[in-house]
Subunit: 322 residues, 2 copies
Amino acid sequence: MRIIILGGGGFIGKRLASELIQKGGLAQGELKHLTLVDVAFSEDKLRDPRVEYVEGDLSDETVMRNILRHPPDVIFHLAAIVSGEAEKNLDLGMKINFHASLLLLELCRELLIRPRIVFSSSCGVFGGDVSKVITDDTAPKPRSSYGTEKAMVELLMNDYSRRGFVDARTLRLPTIAVRPGKPNAATSSFISGIIREPLNGIPASYPVSPECAFWILSPKRVIQNLIHAANIDEKLLTGDRTINLPGLTVSVQEMISNLEKIAGNDVTKLITYEPDAFLQSIVLTWPPHFDTQRADKLGFVRDESVDEIIRTYIEEEGIRNK
Amino acid sequence: MRIIILGGGGFIGKRLASELIQKGGLAQGELKHLTLVDVAFSEDKLRDPRVEYVEGDLSDETVMRNILRHPPDVIFHLAAIVSGEAEKNLDLGMKINFHASLLLLELCRELLIRPRIVFSSSCGVFGGDVSKVITDDTAPKPRSSYGTEKAMVELLMNDYSRRGFVDARTLRLPTIAVRPGKPNAATSSFISGIIREPLNGIPASYPVSPECAFWILSPKRVIQNLIHAANIDEKLLTGDRTINLPGLTVSVQEMISNLEKIAGNDVTKLITYEPDAFLQSIVLTWPPHFDTQRADKLGFVRDESVDEIIRTYIEEEGIRNK
């Protein structure tokens, strides 16, 4: 089978690629060809004859037609302008998060086969009253352009599937923590930062009060869920292809106290509270409470605890536990 | 004040224009100029020096720039490819229902003023389990491309308002009954047809079983609600500009028996049941039960009864009651 990862140069994309190569494919078949597409790739490329790297802009029709010249069986669409950047640059966010996704769907519509698409949306499509529990029937009322763009593409993924052009599965990702590497322009970046930086001896701050809670999922579980989404039987989706992923409701304070139990006060004393109005205006509209019955029933997974999330991060990154 | 009606040649647009002229304006001020825009207009144009007619395609940037050259205070955006046509022609539906609306928002973004937009969306954004009661927090899960396009524009109206480019108010219109004139390509056309045609001595049919119910509103109340939407204080909308309009839950059987009480069996015997798979595939996904607390509180109105709806239609159209 042929698989494409749009956003294959990003942190999740790279990890998903490694996992697919290690597994040798998906439930539908053996991996024969894997195309990773992104605006740029880091040096640490996978050395595997099945892997092809394509640098290009997803909103460029020529680039996209070239990628799709050999019709793919599965497309993981993970490419996005992150929330903070999409809020600051509406045109760029609309271009990549919305128009490039519509272009993808339109080009799939022209194919003779009907590719399966796993699209990474976000729990950031929700916004407003954060005390409410979000269910599978709760209306997305985004309070960011990022959330708006994702919510629009969710609707398209459903309709283009209903029309038989694609077989999409949209996952609304919780905030991913702990992301390795450097901070990025996602407004949620600090949620990983307050674990990651102190473990590396670097000061970190959080922009919201410590009791603020978030709906989080580890990179490990995100990858498991993306693969599960690609493997799941279409019939089980019964016309609605948008899925709120399981996660954990965790406050900033809980994250810090769990980190302290694991790594000590020497580490957590590097964390400070630095209010930031711009970040607050977005992240404080994200509801942290979800009832993900449908996803649970469909076999999607969550982490056991914050403790597990932090320990997994330490283990994966090979950080020496003090 | 300057007002534009996009879709000003349609049945609702024409009636709204007459009403605005009769009222002399809106709460914000006196009507100085009214631009009606549509692909075509019928002969019965309004003779009023304030009214300008523009024939053109809303998805054409030149047409739209011309319309907006004098920045408007209020835009009623009623133009749409109706549900049945949008389902049969995806490209046309996307072009007019989605892309033309995005173009409108982008051009408003360039204006120095922030126009108020009253956008007519549809309860057709909902779909699926028709036994459920739709609340103000229910997720739109459209089962038609028309519903998908409308739901996407709702999200844009909210985000472009949040960003301060426009001051939008999106009304999700129930099925409008009784529409005067001829049947149209809306999948809901028969709901008006079974009242209208028999009253004119013409046979009519319905494609769903008689116990199927719909969420309906009369043209008279739609016009009142559109004007109310333009007049309402922005602060009352508290960040969410999408409103499920009040209506009545009425079955086909109830409509027919009410018509029989008013107009007699000579009229209703003209109505027959003719199942239609295409129409059923769309209209049977529209939920007929709504709890419109928010709209009720905001002062939007519904009809008293089906009886009232039918009698108003007879009165407005000057039909001789047998």
